[in-house]
Symmetry: C2
Subunit: 809 residues, 2 copies
Amino acid sequence: MYTFEPDKTVLDKTELTLISQYWNACNYLAAAMIYLQDNPLLDEPLKSEHIKNRLLGHWGASPALSFCYIHMNRLINKYQLDSLFIAGPGHGAPGVLAPVYLEGTYSEYYPEKSETINGLKKFLKEFSFPGFIGSHCTPELPGSIHEGGELGYSLSHAYGAAFDHPDLIVTCVVGDGEAETGPLATAWHSNKFLNPKTDGAVLPILNLNGYKIANPTILARISEEELLNLFKGYGYEPILVEGSEPQVMHQKMAHALEHAVNQIKHIQHQARVEDKNGRAKWPMIILKTPKGWTGPKTVDGHQVENTWRAHQVPLAGVKENPDHLAQLESWLKSYQPETLFNHDGKLIPELQAIAPKGQSRMSANPIANAGIVRQPLKLPDYAQFAAQVDAPGKLKISNTSVLGEYLNQIFMDNPNNFRLFGPDETASNKLDAVYQSTQKTWLADAKPEDSDGANLSVNGRVMEMLSEHTLEGWLEGYLLTGRHGLLHTYEAFAHVIDSMFNQHAKWLDICKHNVEWRAPISSLNILLSSVVWRQDHNGFSHQDPGFIDLVTNKSADVSRIYFPPDANCLLSVAEHCLQSTDYINLIISDKQKHLQYLTIEQAKQHCKKGIDVWDWASHSEALDTQSQSVDVILACCGDIPTMEALAAAAILKEYLPNLKLRFINIVDLYRIQSSDEHPHGLSTSEFEQLFTQDKPIIFNFHGYPWLIHKLAYKHNASARLHVRGYIEKGNINTPLELAIQNKIDRFNLVLDVLNRVPNLEGAADGLKNKMQQAISDHLNHAHTYGMDSDNISNWQWPDTNFEVEVNDK
Amino acid sequence: MYTFEPDKTVLDKTELTLISQYWNACNYLAAAMIYLQDNPLLDEPLKSEHIKNRLLGHWGASPALSFCYIHMNRLINKYQLDSLFIAGPGHGAPGVLAPVYLEGTYSEYYPEKSETINGLKKFLKEFSFPGFIGSHCTPELPGSIHEGGELGYSLSHAYGAAFDHPDLIVTCVVGDGEAETGPLATAWHSNKFLNPKTDGAVLPILNLNGYKIANPTILARISEEELLNLFKGYGYEPILVEGSEPQVMHQKMAHALEHAVNQIKHIQHQARVEDKNGRAKWPMIILKTPKGWTGPKTVDGHQVENTWRAHQVPLAGVKENPDHLAQLESWLKSYQPETLFNHDGKLIPELQAIAPKGQSRMSANPIANAGIVRQPLKLPDYAQFAAQVDAPGKLKISNTSVLGEYLNQIFMDNPNNFRLFGPDETASNKLDAVYQSTQKTWLADAKPEDSDGANLSVNGRVMEMLSEHTLEGWLEGYLLTGRHGLLHTYEAFAHVIDSMFNQHAKWLDICKHNVEWRAPISSLNILLSSVVWRQDHNGFSHQDPGFIDLVTNKSADVSRIYFPPDANCLLSVAEHCLQSTDYINLIISDKQKHLQYLTIEQAKQHCKKGIDVWDWASHSEALDTQSQSVDVILACCGDIPTMEALAAAAILKEYLPNLKLRFINIVDLYRIQSSDEHPHGLSTSEFEQLFTQDKPIIFNFHGYPWLIHKLAYKHNASARLHVRGYIEKGNINTPLELAIQNKIDRFNLVLDVLNRVPNLEGAADGLKNKMQQAISDHLNHAHTYGMDSDNISNWQWPDTNFEVEVNDK
């Protein structure tokens, strides 16, 4: 085994020269792309007109990024490694763009940025230029699966990419700014979930360049003892590489990286060949280098290199300031571009030779354009898990427990490219049927009592950690490298990952519209269970359906939202989502027991339509969508609102048998939008067929009611659209009490109908009184009897039995 | 100085007996409140009817919480400490409710839950009961400033409370589940921001009870060496207290806590008396105890104590299962309640005697009901910082830089109860005028080069860490303990704290409506700068105005949103927000230079109204709000949309001088809602006075356009309301290019007007062509010339000079 001796020399003179030169070429390009719009190789003296009109980009992080990149290249060649590169400080894109261009990949994807003097000029000019090359590791960058625009997720993405890719080493540079974020600070614990036998490895390189935009970083300003303790505490073997003199640092880094790669191989050998599997003390490198390394040391009397002043553009006003222009020229010339590139703009052959070739280049690793290697999920026929529904509203089961059985079969049929992610709630969310075929990944210590139902295993495929950030990051990394998955979480706490969700949606949107070479990847599937309406004793803090609103702000081309009303619809929706690509699919389905309505065949049809009239819950004369012979439309979206709406329909049927009520259920929320705005939307004529042109619509919604107005506004029905939903009224409540407080309950819905349909006076008054009495009865009862009062058989709205009523249809 | 010897005995026999008994009383109550609705002291044999109908609550975390609480009580008495208690595992509320009740505070706040047998019965029964006592440390709980419903924020709240409270020790129990979250994992680094001289102390107690809902915890399943290294790495002195035998554990904990408190006093002495101030190695305790400690060891053959099965209700189905009922009775009796309480239900006097009294009780610390101790912020007259506006649209300055001067004066006038929070961007957001009077808090290592402009100091009052979670947590803790502050951040990345924001909004809402004894606290003020419209090279990933949408989902009683169009309006809004209480004030104001429109007096009036017609930008015949003599309303909200709308108005004025355009600017977003829905909303008649009854409204908005439809839907204007805003179109763009892509720019606004106002045909066609030409000219220009093209003096819409046009009014 390769051992680590801090001062060992591992590069011979030729290797050292070549890697130094290659790094110079990277740094030259990184600086040049911030400044130059012409004279790309300084063939002529640098003049003001060669400088871009506005200087944008981040120099500070760039040199260390390319330093890591090219040192990994050396080992890729030496050991035939399969590696991906993740740049946590993705805003230091010049440090990644440079080696990606130099190894030829960039020109292969973008032939107009060829390896010629004109191609190079275009490449430099278009960096951070309107409409062109982004200044982060955006989706347009070959090899990138992580933009690094928003900080915090590099390490969880890296682990997600490594799961089930046993041959992969994910080289993940973490910036010391990013390291201060919460998501990154806990992602280090991902090493307790990585199986050395069946997963690949993550090689984290923490780059302590010491500064953020305007401040030092915390980790660069603690003692070396604290620093090493911290990473030992996280369970790693930290290897410190510190310095600034390039020749020395190349030796140190080559040595450290070689040690790390050998450690990884040793760990994997033990697990795979010697059959000693378990949690390993994986290596990680702490690379302590100056911010803006090799850039201007001082500018206008201020230290720049190794301070926050090097974060973005170290020399400002170059176009106007001749001193700065001269300093820039001498800085750029310090890399001796004339020795690195031929006159035609191409890297000299000796340097080209040291980069990996073909798919061994991290920028050309097919895993980073995962759609081309992705295997579709093998999906069993979900009908075999269907709830047996003889009549609507009779059977009461947990919808998610049915989904659990389906997922269990998916685990059996897809042993190494599907995972389930959740923060400690797979059992609580009633998906525990999956434990028939798999377990929870766990490589931290085991205890004897684990054998009694803890379902832990080094080989588990259910990922549970109490960090929504880490789970979401793992899942994104897993999907972005060609696999499949589902994340389930509390509805209210989906907001924890709002920002990550936004970033992934934006990534997909860009890929879909701007990056034609990116093949589609599996959709990001999020199941919200433990919903707003069933928080019981958890109360107000756990009641928040606003994640739905967030999703509706993202591009219509990537976002989908489903509200299956029962188990069979949930199965149909799940199948649809799991086989789709390039979407974000949000599914909202409560974990508690609910009434079932549709047979599997009906469910399939209903979900296909996404919105439909339920004839058995409507008045027979209100069914014809070509006719306007309707008194009122009762629409609903969401499992609990649907149950309440059906109960209201049953009450109305009993008391006002002549009321022409049309009952509409919505599975696919975007159906209510205009077809101008969303591909699933309804045209005006479709909308009016369903909702008539002028009749009142009572809409019972799972989420915030105003969202429906927002989505439907182009249909110009707002004056007759009366939406009920969660209006931030709650505490410790029984389910029905909470429904009543927010007026999505059966009694208030009846009142809504009575208040909206004209000419009902006689019949309406008595029923209104009954409804008000029922509401006050229930509230009194709940406060006397307690949490279970909804389920007490002897408490009931006296003249209504919802189940019987609906079954009678 | 007190030294730590692991096996030292510190409690004498009497003390040990009393503290053991007190803890028994806590545990008895904690268990009883989950189970009993009657027979509160087991005066008669336990029967099924004494058991609640539904068993809800979290037993698992409770015993260790009260264990920490009462051991802290001992030291409060011994050393006259001033302490707050924060329960990270706030769902273990029984472990906090119990000592709060036993020390009398609960009954003082809720006299119906008196210290009598009937009061006790009510207290137990109402726990987790519909409409009554929450099962977390909700706002209704005296002494709580942290609900602990959503996990992750206990430690940042604790530090926020400790800042500028030099005598306070915040006892903060962190659960090992919560410790897995990102926000908690990075909050440990808060110790680099705590000044031993002028701040109080935080004493973190990490309770490793080993389990979450259904899983072991990571930190309980790593080696002791890793565990201690981790906390040494975080910069603490970890003290491990491990075991399960209560008598031994009382000794160990008493000793450890005494050591910790003495260490704190020693550190503070060094800083305050010996004048050796700097970062300290603060103590923290790792308390390793069984989950569900002292509860049932096994149930139905499964181990319960010290496993995840103890998380919530360890014995289920007690009402129906006689064996479980018997086991419950014997468990409850194991605490010997008859020896702890008198027959009348009151704790025996010997035990009462050992609790702190009056305001020394952590539950009665006035700091935890901070409104009663809060001093209003001393606010200087903002007029002295006003931008000198001679005419609208002439002066161009950064609005936030003007705010910076005002904040600087606030720092001078309020030396110890105001702080500014931001993730490394105070300078970038142009608020750096504050460095005239203060600096950034920094207790990590210093370097010589810091003296050149880094603005770091142990005494700084500007809090910068690259963790929005930590900043928001600090600020919340700071406000909840009676002080004032402002958080500023990137608009897109405000989503990082969506969930924290939700929780704080819910806390305020509950306090306002349900907890009359809580006095108002300072509002949470959030300034979003670096807005969606000015991301330039940061591109698509940094473009997201959705935080505004999130805020609009919270209660109208607590949420406020302001869009000051210029510097003077920003000053007025800032003053208003900084003196308000119990709101969340969201202010959106870009950091770049912008045109100025209003004098300080005009700004004051405009902000007071929140929405107004700008007569100088309107057609003179369209001003009379009693008349409907208007062709079109051009409304705008947000600094950049306002500038574009004004430019559009100028173009229209030049080309269609007879067009009766009414120009409306909105500062207070909620003005456009209905007065039925928000206290700032407009009545129908007010809305129609401003917006007429039937004329087209072109609304140029900063955020997502459909939000305006959502807010305004009750005004039934959606058919004539045409909203422009951000529609997720962007990349690397010049500001004007981005505006054009999303159609909020001057040219598209003119087109919108031309397309909406009837009977313009002749004049309109030529102008339409000009606008389309201008759009295409600009896009071409940007892609040729680059990022700076918006500012090039020789590129301009040929016949329009916005400044002149507006000035000419």
